[in-house]
Every structure is written in structure tokens, then in C-alpha cells.
Symmetry: C2
Subunit: 140 residues, 2 copies
């Protein structure tokens, strides 16, 4: 099982906006061309990024723009904008309370799962859009 490509697409979208918003109108069609996925999917993801307060979108005339400096947008922000699940892990729901393990597994595992998820989120929190943009520019 993998995270959906919404996360990498959303990151790609934000990189494109950060890169091009000064010189051109960044529409869903423009983004569709760079990312190579259907413009409707772009618009949906763009909607999530907009709900999360990262981008603004110009009605009618079209075009998306950053609402925050790239330095203040982290991979965690992006991830949370497009992946709505609270927990990474799906716990089997009805362990048998008459079994000593079934009765205790939730209280044992819940904390571990939280620790694991936090480790991942902390790593994401340390990577900003501006870092990615700088790296991309170096490699062009």
C-alpha cells in the first residue's frame, strides 16, 4: 500500500507556482502540461491546497499563486492538505476482549503507532518548498 500520487502532484504544483507565477499565469492547463495528468485532477488537488491556505486561485481569469512564502510551506503541510486520514495505520477493529492479548493490544500499539507516525511527520516538517525549489534550480 502506498500513499496516493496526490502528494507528489501537489508538491509538483507548488514548485511550478513558485517557479513560474512571476512570469506567467499558472492555470490548471499549464500545470497539467508539466505534470502530465488530467486538468480536473489538478483542479481538485489545487482546491485542497487552497482550502489549506497555501495557494489562492483567481476565479474567471484563472491562475494560482502562493499565499505564503515558500520558506514557510513544508512537506508536512502539503501532505496533510491532500491526505485526510488521521492515522497512518488501519487497526483491526474488534479484538476479542476475553483474550489477554486481544484485550490489551490497542493500549500497547496505539502509542507505538503514534511514535512511528510522528517520526515521519517530523522529517516532513523539516523540508520546505524553498529548499526543494533551490535544489531544482541547481539541477536545471
Amino acid at each position: 500500500m502506498q500513499f496516493s500520487s496526490r502528494f507528489t502532484i501537489a508538491t509538483h504544483i507548488l514548485l511550478c507556482i513558485a517557479m513560474f507565477e512571476k512570469e506567467t499565469k499558472v492555470t490548471s492547463n499549464f500545470l497539467s502540461g508539466s505534470i502530465n495528468v488530467n486538468p480536473v485532477i489538478i483542479r481538485n488537488i489545487l482546491g485542497s491546497l487552497s482550502s489549506a491556505g497555501m495557494v489562492g486561485i483567481k476565479q474567471g481569469i484563472g491562475g494560482a499563486y502562493l499565499l505564503k512564502p515558500a520558506k514557510e510551506i513544508t512537506l508536512l503541510d502539503i501532505f496533510k492538505a491532500v491526505e485526510k486520514e488521521e492515522s497512518l495505520f488501519h487497526f483491526h477493529e474488534n479484538p476479542n476482549p476475553e483474550c489477554p492479548i486481544g484485550r490489551t493490544i490497542h493500549s500497547v500499539m496505539d502509542g507505538k503507532i503514534e511514535t512511528i507516525q510522528s517520526a515521519m511527520e517530523n522529517e516532513m516538517k523539516d523540508i520546505t518548498l524553498s529548499m526543494l525549489l533551490e535544489e531544482a534550480k541547481e539541477k536545471m
Copy 2:
């Protein structure tokens, strides 16, 4: 998007084996009772744990047993036994090479994704089955 419950089920299975293998025959039916899922699903997951060298399963007579001390089985071992995907993240496949971002995004993001995944795996590597078993016993 969440990981399948195979991971928590597999952990539950191993805890049950570690807890009960001395006193009773741990069959898929026995496990099914504690975990409260279909025995066939148990048998499939048990098969993955067996392929990964963590448990042995007695043909004909039935019953599963640990092949390693609980101290040497980590949550990462369990996770890898039941989740076969190499990467946690699904990357959109065909970014446009004619766009400067499309051309570079893979080389920029691949390393970040690896870092994030490693952070998670390192955390999993530090939690052993014996730790979970001790905690469970305390809470009984």
C-alpha cells in the same frame, strides 16, 4: 490512505504466539478467535510471516511457533513481511521533461522521500516483539 490492517493483525498474531505457544496449540482458528477476523486471512498473513522466517507452521497437526526470540523480531520486520511495496509514495509517472520542474522533480524528491521513509523505518526497527509482550503483560 492507510496501511492495511495486515500489519496490526500480524503483530497481534505474533504476540499471541509468543504468549501462548508454550501452553496451547496456536492454530489459525485459535488466532481467529482472539483477533476476530476470518481464519483464511489469518492463514494468509501467517504465510507471509513464515516466508519472512519469523514463524514456523506445523503441517497437518497445526499450530504456529516463533523461529526467532521475541527480542529479535522488530515492528519493521513485521511491516516488511506484510507490506510488499518498495516505496511508501506513489510518484506520478510521466512529468514533462520539457518543463524545468518536470525534468528535475524526480531527482529532487526521490532523496526526500527516502529520508522520510527511513525515519519511519528506524522508529519501527527500535520496537521489538518482546517489548510489546512485556507491556501487554503489565497491562493485563
